[in-house]
Structures are given as structure tokens and as C-alpha cells.
């Protein structure tokens, strides 16, 4: 009985406190929703709705000139039974892996140099800006600018011939896998440098001194201290590069002179032929692939914590 009265008296005092907290929580939620409403609307209309449309249209049918609503698996059946699809997906993954490895190696080295070997903050910022400025210029122009280098009579070939290293111009410089990868590395190394540099700058320098005092060589410090601590940056950079390369269609088209294919080009070719349902089916498969890759990579890093 006395227990009960106690509970009742407790309950009598509690409500004011909880209701106050609740109303606070409600107004927080409300202001959160209101403030993020424009964002949510834009993402709904230009991200979610397009994805939904693509999924729906991927079941539609198409004639040579038009598309019509239907619910058929023809597009997927054709896609998944065609050997071309697997070849193209394999090629896409090949580009992604090579570009990822190259940008990671170069990006890490550059970030390492900026973070640990450049000693004044002003120079660090200046060099860092120098690395990021091309990001704010046109990718198309940056691709075009490889033509005078790699062409049959380009700078690379004429230099190599002048040096007597080769007798005939190399044909594989422009319009080849080599050119595609080169352009990827040229365009996207930045996406590795920035997050890796960002995490490196947050490493406590006394950890490096501790490693040094305990007799670690520079290389040991690198592999045992710096690389483990830089992992989040490496993961974020990798997510950028891999998704950009896997979703690309224009670099492959331009740098291979339309001779090589990846999934993005498969989609854009279908679009060119007005075969939207088939383009959508390929797009759905591509999106699933990319999201799976990202989901795996996000297991290794909490982006919200790294910002």
C-alpha cells in the first residue's frame, strides 16, 4: 500500500518534467523538419523520384520510336543472358580497380608529403589549394587537353622518337584503355588527396615522436602508425573514386574514341537509340552494384563521425 502511494506521488510529480521534455523534443523535431524541408523536397523530386521512375520504366516495353507501360522482365532477361553485359561489367570493374589503386598510391603519397614533410601551415594550405584548383575547372576541357600529348603526332610520341626509344609512333597512347585510365587518374586523384590529407592533419604529432623515440624507422612509423590512423580518409577517398569511375560514361567514350565500353556507355548508347526501358534496366543493375560496393565500404568507416 505504501509502495503504491509512493508510485502515485512520484507519478504526480513526474508529468510536468516529462511533458516539458516532450514538448521540447517535439519543437526540436519540428524545427529540424522545417529546416531540412527544402533539402528533403529537392532530394525527393530529383533523386528519389528519378530512381523510382527508372525502376518502373525498366519493366516497360519499347518499340523503335516510343516506349509503352508494361510489366515485363524482357529487359532484364535480355540483359542478364547477354554475354556482352558480363564483358562490359567486367571491364567497368577493371577500370575501377586500376584507377582506384593508382589514385590511392599517388593520392596517399601526395597527402603524406603535404601533411608530414611540408612544415609551415601557409605552405601546406598553398600546396593543398594548388592540388584542388583543377577540381573547380571543366572535366571536358581537361580531357581534351590530353590530345596534343597522346595523339599520333603528339608530344609523347615525338619526344620518344627524338630520343630514339621508338621508331614508330605508339598507337595505344590515345583512344585506348591506357588513355582512359590516365584520364581517370588525372581527374580523380584529387578525391583521394583531400580526405586523406584531412585525416592526416588530425593525427597527433606526438604519436609520431613516440614511435620515433621507441626506435621505429620512418617506414615502420608509416605502416604501423600513419596508415592505420589514415584509414577513414582512405575509405572516403576510395568511395569517391570507385563510384565516379563505375558511373562514368563520358571519359570512357572520349578517351577511348568510342572503342571501349563500360556500363555507363551501355546506358548512354541505349538512350541514344531511344531504348529507355533497356537503359533503365541496365541503370538499375549498375545502381545495385554501386550501392553494394558502398555498403561494404561504409562498414569500415562512419562518415558522420569523420566530418
Amino acid at each position: 500500500m505504501s509502495d503504491q502511494t509512493q508510485t502515485i506521488s512520484l507519478e504526480a510529480t513526474m508529468p510536468t518534467a516529462t511533458s516539458k521534455r516532450q514538448s521540447h523534443g517535439l519543437s526540436d523535431a519540428l524545427s529540424g523538419w522545417l529546416m531540412s524541408l527544402p533539402l528533403a523536397l529537392i532530394l525527393f523530386f530529383f533523386l528519389l523520384l528519378p530512381i523510382l521512375t527508372i525502376v518502373i520504366v525498366s519493366f516497360w516495353g519499347a518499340t523503335e520510336y516510343s516506349i509503352y507501360p508494361a510489366f515485363q522482365f524482357d529487359n532484364y532477361e535480355f540483359l542478364l543472358t547477354s554475354p556482352v553485359t558480363y564483358q562490359v561489367f567486367l571491364n567497368t570493374i577493371k577500370y575501377a580497380v586500376i584507377a582506384w589503386a593508382a589514385t590511392l598510391l599517388i593520392g596517399f603519397t601526395i597527402a603524406y608529403f603535404l601533411a608530414f614533410h611540408v612544415r609551415s601551415l601557409v605552405w601546406q594550405i598553398a600546396f593543398f589549394l594548388l592540388c584542388t584548383i583543377p577540381f573547380w575547372t571543366s572535366n571536358i576541357i581537361r580531357m581534351i587537353s590530353w590530345i596534343p600529348f597522346l595523339g599520333r603526332n603528339g608530344i609523347a610520341n615525338s619526344t620518344l622518337m627524338d630520343l630514339g626509344i621508338i621508331d614508330q609512333p605508339l598507337e595505344w597512347l590515345l583512344y585506348s584503355d591506357f588513355a582512359v585510365i590516365l584520364a581517370f587518374v588525372h581527374l580523380y586523384t584529387l578525391f583521394m588527396v583531400v580526405p586523406i590529407f584531412n585525416t592526416m592533419m588530425r593525427i597527433d604529432k606526438s604519436l609520431l615522436e613516440a614511435a620515433y623515440d621507441n626506435g621505429a624507422t620512418g617506414f615502420q612509423t608509416l605502416t604501423n602508425v600513419i596508415i592505420p590512423l589514415t584509414k577513414p580518409g582512405i575509405m572516403i577517398g576510395s568511395i569517391f573514386v570507385i563510384t565516379l569511375v563505375m558511373g562514368d560514361f563520358i571519359t570512357v567514350r572520349f578517351m577511348s574514341g568510342s572503342q571501349k565500353a563500360n556500363v555507363g556507355r551501355l546506358i548512354s548508347n541505349d538512350i541514344g537509340l531511344l531504348q529507355y526501358p533497356s537503359a533503365c534496366a541496365t541503370a538499375v543493375i549498375l545502381l545495385i552494384t554501386v550501392l553494394l560496393v558502398i555498403a561494404v565500404m561504409l562498414r569500415f568507416v562512419d562518415i558522420r563521425k569523420e566530418l
Partner: protein, 279 residues
């Protein structure tokens, strides 16, 4: 100062090579755009002239590049303003977790990593199927926001993660309303970062290609126009155009960076009026 380890010189050389790799091609086409009238797409230079820049003003030689430049510029400004406003609001909203914030966060990440051609294709289909006109200022504008907003928001999240809340508490203690606190305290403090967001918003829009490809409609933006030229123009006129737009981008970047620098200087000079009494 202690002596530099040997690895420093190796890495410095690597860094210089990287910069050459990064800037070399752009500098090359800048030089080649001054080719003489008989010059081709590669060295040797056949004389030096402004011939190809002059060609840019001949409608029949290059098509409607000035119209597309104007469209890209206006679109860039529209995207810039929207990106800044929406990112700041989103950044403020995300300072407290609210129901659904996790979903919105993953949508932002999806917006960043989704292959651009999907946005182009999806938005294009929505507009054409629902009978709306595909136009750079509607469908193109929205598509570009899916690319610029994630950058703006991630910057804002990073800014607010480092934001010293005691400034706001001080303002609140002095009786400022929530709105006054944001307007007079928070926004001035984060102003240099907002310029950064604006820079991302404008330049990413100005150079955007894939997401605008199927959403620009019958009037091209500049990157689309330039890409069209690559298939049928085989003269250095395309280098001249490339040099000009890159130059324009560099000017824009410089303007933004100088603005940040000036803001920081002014802040350093008039940082605190503590002890100076009411001004």
C-alpha cells in the same frame, strides 16, 4: 631547423611531377590556342596569333557558344544561391538529431555516389513522361542540385561539428532570440565557409556535364556545347575555347579565395571588442 630526411627530396620531386601531370596538359592547350591560322592540334606552332580566339566570335565557326556561356553563368548563380541557402538550413537542422535525420543523411550520400547518368535519365524521363518541358532552368537546375548539395552539406556538417556552442549560449544569455542568434552570431562566424560552399555551388554547376546531358533541353549549357564541338571541330578553336573557360574558372576561384582572405583579415583586425565598451 633539423635537416631534411632524404625521403623529403624524393617526395618533393614526386609532388612536383604530380603538379606537372595535373597542370601540364592545360598549359599545353593554352599555348597551342595561340597557333597561327595554319596551325594544327599539336606542336609545332605555325606562327603565333589570336586567330582562334577571333574565330570564337564567328557564329558559323563555333555555333552558339556565347548563348550557352550566358546560360551556364545564370544557371551557376541559381545553383550557387540555392546550394548556400539549403546547405545552411540543412546544416542547422542536422545539429540536433530529429526523427528521419538518418534517412535524409543517407539520401545525401546516395545523391553523391549515384552514377550521374541515372539522374540525367530519371529526371529526363519524369519530365518527358509527364509532359513537362525539359529546360536547363527547371530539370537541369534540379539535377545539378543533386550534385552540388551533398558537397555543400558535407562542408556545413564539418563546420558545425567544430562550431563553438558557447558563442550561441552567450548570445542567448544576453537575451537574443533563436533567429537573432543565427543571424547576428552564427552566420557571421561561418561566413568564410559559406563562401567556400558558394564556390563549390557555382563551379560544379558551371562545369557539370553528365547530370545536365538529358535535362538541359533544346538550349545547351557550355560544357554540353563544348562536348558537341569535340565531335566535329578539329581545329585549335576548341583549345581557344578551353583556355578561355579555364581562365574564367580561375578568375572565379581567385575572386572567392580573395574574398575569404579579406574576410579573415578583417576578422583578425576587428576580432574582439572586449573591453572597448559599447560601440
Amino acid at each position: 631547423m633539423e635537416t631534411r630526411p632524404r625521403s623529403f627530396y624524393f617526395l618533393a620531386a614526386f609532388f612536383i611531377l604530380f603538379l606537372v601531370f595535373l597542370y601540364g596538359p592545360t598549359i599545353t592547350i593554352a599555348i597551342l590556342s595561340f597557333q597561327g591560322p595554319q596551325g594544327g592540334l599539336t606542336f609545332p606552332m605555325r606562327g603565333v596569333s589570336l586567330h582562334w580566339f577571333h574565330e570564337l566570335f564567328q557564329q558559323q565557326a563555333v555555333g552558339d557558344i556565347w548563348g550557352s556561356f550566358a546560360r551556364s553563368f545564370v544557371l551557376g548563380l541559381m545553383v550557387m544561391v540555392t546550394t548556400v541557402v539549403v546547405s545552411v538550413m540543412g546544416g542547422l537542422a542536422f545539429r540536433k538529431r530529429f526523427p528521419g535525420s538518418g534517412v535524409v543523411f543517407y539520401l545525401i550520400i546516395t545523391s553523391l555516389v549515384i552514377p550521374s547518368i541515372l539522374i540525367s535519365l530519371g529526371v529526363g524521363l519524369i519530365f518527358s513522361q509527364s509532359g513537362l518541358t525539359v529546360h536547363w532552368s527547371t530539370s537541369g537546375f534540379g539535377s545539378q542540385l543533386t550534385w552540388t548539395l551533398p558537397f555543400g552539406l558535407l562542408i556545413m556538417f564539418a563546420v558545425f561539428n567544430r562550431f563553438d556552442k558557447s558563442f550561441e549560449e552567450a548570445a542567448r544569455d544576453q537575451g537574443a532570440s533563436a533567429w537573432q542568434t543565427i543571424w547576428h552570431v552564427v552566420l557571421p562566424i561561418i561566413a568564410p565557409m559559406l563562401i567556400g560552399v558558394a564556390l563549390f555551388g557555382f563551379t560544379l554547376s558551371y562545369d557539370e556535364f553528365a547530370r545536365t546531358l538529358l535535362t538541359a533541353g533544346s538550349y545547351n549549357t557550355l560544357p554540353l556545347e563544348i562536348f558537341g564541338m569535340t565531335t566535329n571541330v578539329t581545329t585549335p578553336v576548341i583549345f581557344a575555347l578551353g583556355t578561355l573557360t579555364t581562365g574564367f574558372s580561375l578568375v572565379i576561384i581567385a575572386v572567392f579565395l580573395i574574398t575569404v582572405l579579406v574576410l579573415n583579415r578583417r576578422r583578425a583586425r576587428q576580432g574582439s571588442d572586449a573591453g572597448k565598451g559599447m560601440v
